[in-house]
């Protein structure tokens, strides 16, 4: 038996002319890269020259110096006597604190509004549409300033609004009751997380067994044991106390409780409402992308409404929703840099102050870029992993 392998045509000799695609390709690449390198080299030599004229030393040595920059709102200990490095870390934590909580809240509110827009209740659907259109069409910066000005117009601490016992809204921000967390509390929380993880595996295993013999095995006893009983036991053994501290007005300010500064609160509201409008549209399009026949068929099989939503509609809708949702999460994270406009000290604000104090422009901007690229890549990687997990498995 003879297998005829197709013979490769003999390589054509190179002609030194632009009509030869290989030569042309090489020519254009060398030209473009050459121009790019020349421009960068020109800018770089200027920068080196200007820096030496201004007596600014390049490098990251300035990070070890004393920052002398006050940061009002910080979750980790910080005083102006600390180093620039620590100030940057505070900035990064502040950015993450807005971004992570913002992403969670925007997803929840956006999903609710998106579903409300599809409601059969005419009034609810119209109000959701108005919400989306108004928030989507106004610049975020405008909305942020609006919320911030509104916060500043709130009454002083002594005349604070008290919608519920223990919750105060004043020009000092939003003050919530809190639970002081000691070591024993952390052990309990750890037990809860561990119980949840184990329960996920147990549930997956139960479903796998059901796939084999078709018998449904209830998961709730495991849930009771792992998610409720285990943390309760740990809490009892370690003697954790879960007493709630209510904030109290003493003098001109509040003592105890959890304080959300007005800058943080305004930024969070603005980011959450703005992004939730976009997420609502994404969720709506995702649900509408599932053919009606799917839920009709499931109902015809006699499945429960919640089961249809959870196992038929949602998995198919998620495939449409996840990719645009990822870019909304990235947008929210990047938009959190608007904090500068209301004086909340996130990474961009800290880097900007550093830049003005030390003149280390290139290093500061490089740090901002590094932080945002890292966060963006992190979100992208996680969402891509999740997307691959829920993707349609085809033959």
């Amino acid at each position: 038996m003879t297998t005829s392998t197709p013979k490769r045509p003999p390589a054509r000799p190179w002609r030194l002319s632009l009509s030869d695609p290989r030569v042309a390709g090489l020519f254009w690449q060398v030209l473009v890269v050459g121009i790019a390198v020349a421009v960068v080299a020109f800018l770089w030599s200027n920068a080196i020259h200007n820096l030496s004229v201004r007596r600014i030393s390049t490098g990251f040595a300035f990070l070890g110096r004393e920052a002398g920059m006050p940061i009002a709102d910080s979750w980790i200990d910080y005083t102006p006597k600390d180093t620039y490095l620590r100030a940057f870390i505070v900035g990064i934590v502040n950015t993450l604190r807005v971004a992570v909580i913002g992403i969670v809240l925007a997803t929840v509110i956006g999903t609710l509004v998106g579903i409300a827009r599809l409601s059969s209740n005419w009034l609810l659907a119209r109000l959701a549409a108005v919400y989306v259109e108004v928030l989507r069409d106004l610049p975020l910066l405008l909305q942020l300033l609006f919320w911030y000005v509104l916060m500043q117009g709130l009454p002083a601490a002594r005349q604070a609004w008290k919608p519920v016992e223990g919750v105060y809204l004043s020009n000092r921000g939003l003050i919530l009751p809190s639970v002081p967390l000691h070591e024993a509390n952390w052990w309990t929380i750890l037990a809860l997380v561990a119980g949840l993880i184990v329960f996920t595996f147990v549930r997956r295993r139960l479903i796998a067994q059901q796939m084999l013999d078709g018998r449904a095995r209830p998961a709730w006893p495991y849930a009771l044991g792992l998610v409720v009983a285990l943390p309760a036991l740990v809490s009892f053994l370690s003697g954790a106390s879960w007493s709630i501290t209510l904030p109290e007005l003493r003098g001109f300010n509040f003592v105890g409780g959890l304080t959300l500064a007005p800058e943080y609160f305004a930024l969070l509201i603005a980011l959450v409402t703005y992004t939730s409008a976009f997420i609502a549209e994404i969720v709506r399009s995702g649900i509408q992308a599932v053919p009606r026949g799917q839920s009709d068929a499931a109902k015809a099989l006699g499945l429960k409404r919640s089961f249809v939503l959870q196992h038929i509609v949602l998995p198919q809708a998620l495939r449409v929703i996840i990719p645009p949702m990822t870019s909304q999460y990235l947008n929210l994270t990047k938009n959190s840099s608007l904090a500068v406009a209301v004086g909340y000290q996130d990474i961009v604000s800290v880097a900007n102050t550093t830049l003005n104090q030390t003149g280390q422009a290139i290093e500061s901007i490089a740090l901002i870029m590094m932080v945002f690229l890292t966060i963006s890549l992190g979100i992208s990687l996680f969402m891509n992993w999740y997307n691959a997990r829920i993707a349609l498995v085809e033959r």
Partner: protein, 349 residues
């Protein structure tokens, strides 16, 4: 056969059933279907009506009933006395010139006003299909030169106005229009580069797009306002608006490139091959065959990007350029009206 014979010759005529009759009139039927279809739906409707009513009453009291419409002279005590219970609309007639044109010399403000009119005329003309000819490019170039001359002045008896006194609506329009006018061709080039077979060009384009898209616009603007002078040779000084404009063009270019790339991917491969078979060059193939189809595919996301970009021009506030949002904000720094005016701001922007 025989079974058929058992059937009665003339089966009883059964007419179509009458359509179900809605109780009450058309309005009641609509209400029942759309607002009170079930008990939870009815509860939701009543709750929403209650909240909506409260909000409307509050807005009426704030915006109309308790509002201050006119203040005499420079006396803002009436506004200050409101303490947020009413709007201070008086700020709008008082400060509208500043909100629209910023710190541009007061007597010369017809110039930016004329520039705005030219911009709007240009947009109106360009949106008519019958004007889509080659001459339109010349018209654009001429109009943009006229606008530049009007804003700067310095000849024909027009006094010279430095760029840092420009502000308000013209700045917003200039940033958005030039940003898109230059960013869009840049985006197309980068999109083509990213799909190129030449590895060096492709990686340069990927680097550019990912770097710009990975960082917030604010840090780009900071870069333009702080770092840019550092990269210039001695004595070269580009003004702030132009630096911000360059940052905006680079930003728009990266985002538009990704949209256009999506369109390029949607063009079937046969179209490229047909172009090759006709012996067209790379540029002919793309300009005549591929791009017209690709861009038609992505018109909706392109419009989304344009609108987002227009909103993003408000960020120049942060590096201290006076666009429309900034002038409105500055106009209301007057503490008397600060709370109420933030709402008037949203209606003016």
């Amino acid at each position: 056969m025989s079974s058929v014979a058992h059937l009665p010759q003339d089966p009883l005529p059964i007419g179509p059933r009458p359509a179900p009759q809605a109780l009450g009139g058309q309005l009641t039927a609509w209400l029942r279907a759309n607002l009170f279809a079930s008990i939870p739906s009815s509860i939701m409707t009543l709750l929403l009506l209650f909240l909506l009513g409260k909000a409307c009453i509050g807005l009426w009291q704030w915006g109309i009933a308790n509002a201050v419409w006119i203040v005499s002279g420079n006396d803002s005590s009436a506004c200050r006395a409101l303490r947020g219970v009413g709007a201070c609309w008086a700020v709008v007639p008082e400060k509208y010139r500043f909100i629209l044109f910023g710190t541009y010399p007061f007597d010369e403000q017809w110039r930016p006003a004329l520039a705005v009119v030219i911009f709007i005329a240009l947009f109106a003309v360009s949106s008519r299909r019958s004007f889509w000819r080659k001459e339109l490019f010349l018209l654009w170039a001429a109009a943009l030169i006229v606008i530049g001359c009007l804003m700067w002045g310095g000849f024909l008896g027009l006094s010279f106005v430095t760029q840092d006194r420009w502000g308000g609506l013209p700045v917003t329009l200039i940033l958005a229009t030039f940003g898109l006018a230059f960013g869009f061709p840049l985006g197309i080039l980068v999109a083509l580069g990213r799909r190129s077979k030449l590895p060096a060009i492709r990686s340069l384009c990927v680097l550019y797009v990912e770097l710009i898209r990975g960082v917030p616009l604010i840090s780009l603007l900071f870069m333009a306002s702080v770092m840019f002078p550092l990269f210039m040779p001695d004595g070269v000084n580009i003004d702030k608006l132009l630096r911000a404009q360059i940052a905006f063009i680079l930003y728009a270019g990266a985002y538009l490139a990704e949209v256009v790339r999506g369109g390029l991917q949607a063009v079937p491969r046969g179209q490229y091959e047909a172009g090759d078979a006709l012996g067209l060059s790379y540029w002919q193939k793309h300009a005549l065959i591929v791009l017209p189809q690709a861009i038609r595919h992505v018109i909706p996301p392109l419009v989304n990007t344009f609108i987002a970009f227009f909103k993003d021009t408000s960020l120049v506030l942060i590096i201290g350029i006076f666009d429309l949002l900034t002038t409105a904000k500055t106009a209301i720094v007057d503490p008397a009206c600060s709370r109420s005016a933030s709402r008037s701001m949203s209606s003016s922007a």
